[in-house]
């Protein structure tokens, strides 16, 4: 692997392994480098959180894993799902995997559900598509799934349309839909961002519990440090389409190495609670259409030096598997 860092530490094979994933949106007069070499591996039952500001390429990464990007997107790298290469599979093969072995939940459950079909129909449809069972059986399964995600009076909710449910209930239904065919990998794109704080916690707890019961791996995307601390086993911090730092939740939360991670933590109530005062990171994220050479964070970094603006930034990996991509790290991290 060229971009080391998040390699699985144990011997059992990862369910999802991503190697040097890059995504470029190249059209007539734009060229956006949205993801610039992301690598990670994920074992059963593990949760990896991709943490990053708006526009850092989190959603694009997930869509690339699902093969959902528009035709003009150039996707490179390698993606293995259960040991099988899936990048560049023909559409029909990909369709069998989506919603089956790999499925996704979205930020806005209202927008992700079809408004003119009932929840039951939408869940059952997925099951019919993947398993070829008849509609009655699929509906029974859908009912079981609604019970599983703890939706009250599931028989009635099965016949509800999305607009007849509350936000939290819709997200639960969305989770039921994503779990319908027992995926080995669940991609969650900011699934709690659109919800009230109390509902947010319920949904997070539900996800954790379902993960323990079903043993799937979760890639969780968020910009909320608090949520990341709550749900993840490991965290990868994304900046301008690159992972700048990764490690166990504990490592990242306690000893952030990268100035960007430090800034992120200091800028949230959660991180600032440990005595330091609430700060914001000065400046704005770089324009992905014209990334500077060297470290993308350099223009906003308080430790910038000449080496940051030229050539490749060194990647330092610690014995525990933690990774940081920073010129300074050669000095601060014991190799």
């Amino acid at each position: 692997m060229p971009d080391i860092g998040l390699a699985a530490t144990t011997t059992d094979t990862p369910v999802l392994q991503v190697d040097d994933l890059t995504v470029r949106f190249k059209r007539r007069n734009t060229d956006v480098a949205a993801v610039n070499g992301a690598s990670f591996a994920l074992r059963r039952g593990e949760t990896l959180t991709i943490l990053g500001e708006s526009g850092s390429g989190k959603s694009v990464s997930l869509k690339a894993l699902m093969g959902l990007l528009p035709g003009y997107a150039q996707v490179h790298g390698k993606i293995w799902l259960d040991g099988r290469e899936i990048l560049g599979l023909p559409a029909a093969e990909l369709a069998k995997l989506r919603g089956g072995a790999i499925s996704m939940i979205f930020q806005e459950p209202m927008a992700a559900l079809d408004p003119v079909y009932t929840i039951g129909e939408q869940i059952a449809e997925t099951i019919v598509q993947h398993e070829g069972v008849d509609r009655r059986t699929a509906m029974q399964r859908a009912l079981g799934l609604l019970e599983r995600v703890k939706i009250p009076s599931p028989e009635r909710r099965l016949k509800n349309y999305p607009h007849e449910m509350s936000g939290g209930m819709r997200q639960r239904a969305m989770i039921a839909l994503a779990l319908a065919c027992s995926p080995s990998v669940l991609l969650a794109d900011e699934p709690t961002t659109a919800l009230d704080v109390t509902v947010q916690i319920q949904v997070l707890l539900l996800l954790r519990q379902l993960q323990q019961e079903l043993g799937m791996a979760i890639v969780f995307v968020t910009h909320d440090v608090g949520v990341a601390a709550e749900i993840s086993d490991r965290i990868a911090v994304m900046y301008a389409g690159r992972f700048v730092e990764s490690g166990t939740t504990r490592e990242i939360m306690r000893h952030p190495q990268h100035p960007y991670t430090q800034g992120l933590l200091a800028s949230t109530v959660h991180g600032a609670m440990r005595g330091s005062k609430l700060e914001t990171i000065p400046g704005t994220p770089p324009n992905l259409a014209s990334l500077p050479p060297g470290c993308a964070f350099a223009p906003r970094c308080r430790y910038t030096r000449d080496a940051c603006r030229t050539g490749d930034v060194p990647v330092i990996t610690s014995p525990t598997g933690a990774m940081v991509r920073c010129v300074r790290a050669t000095e601060t991290v014991p190799a």
């Binding site: 699902m66 959902l68 029909a92 919603g99 979205f106 559900l113 408004p115 003119v116 598509q129």
Partner: protein, 312 residues
Amino acid sequence: MLVFALRRLLQAIPILLGVSLVVFGLVHLAPGNPIDMLMPPEASPEIVAQMKAAYGFDKPLYVQYLLWLMRALHGDFGLSVFNATPVWGQLVTALENTFILAILGAALGFALGIVTGLIAALYHGRWPDKLASAIATAGVSLPHYWCAIVLVLACAVLHDWLPAQGMGDDSLPIWQRLDFLVLPVVTLSLIPMGVIGRLVRATVLDILGQDFVGALSAKGLTRWPVLRHIIKNAAPPVLALMGLQFGYLLGGSILVETVFNWPGSGNLLNLAIFRRDIPVLQATILVLATFFVLLNLLVDIAQAAIDPRIRR
């Protein structure tokens, strides 16, 4: 859903009553008394009074209206002022003739419109889109009568492919005279095709831009099941426009029916206006307006059956 349908049905009643009032008022729109206009100027006052009594014009206006409405409800619109035959009979024949054209024209136009609109949206920005959009624009913007004349020239005058006038020998059943239908039906289908095609394209493009379509692929649905979702979402606005377009076709196109000498309701309306045949005018407008209201009612109910958010 049933409640919704019943409520819509009840709401249609005042609309229909309003229409009937306007139609009844038509008689009194023209200056002077309708009888005065019909009678020769030298007619004696006694005869005029006799006529007024015969037509009920001596009674107060609201009584006249109620009597007229009661009779109309039984299909009795009196006699044509022009040829003294029952209005109802003329109207039924004309409506039947127009109905054949309207049904076929709508079916052809809607089918072509839906297909071209879908193709245009699914191939957005590429050549099938440009071709389909050009066809749709031509459909709505070329004048009806011009197309009719070009078709007649091409298919009936220059070549002897198809008949261009009338309905043929009416002792034969209609399915043995289908060749008479081709040119008028094709002409009539042009506008519905263009209008529906453009709406389908815009609606489907709008739906394709919504997040749930991506989510459908994320569930592993293949192309046809996704298309089914798109069609169901696009159906309500398209149905509404189809209802309107079919309503227009039912009214009969005066121009098209004149060019093809087709004895339909457009023709009848045209003649009634020229002959100042008010009973025929009233009956035609009232029946057509009723069709229109009922058609919209059906569309409303169909829309609500498809999209639950409309049921309120």
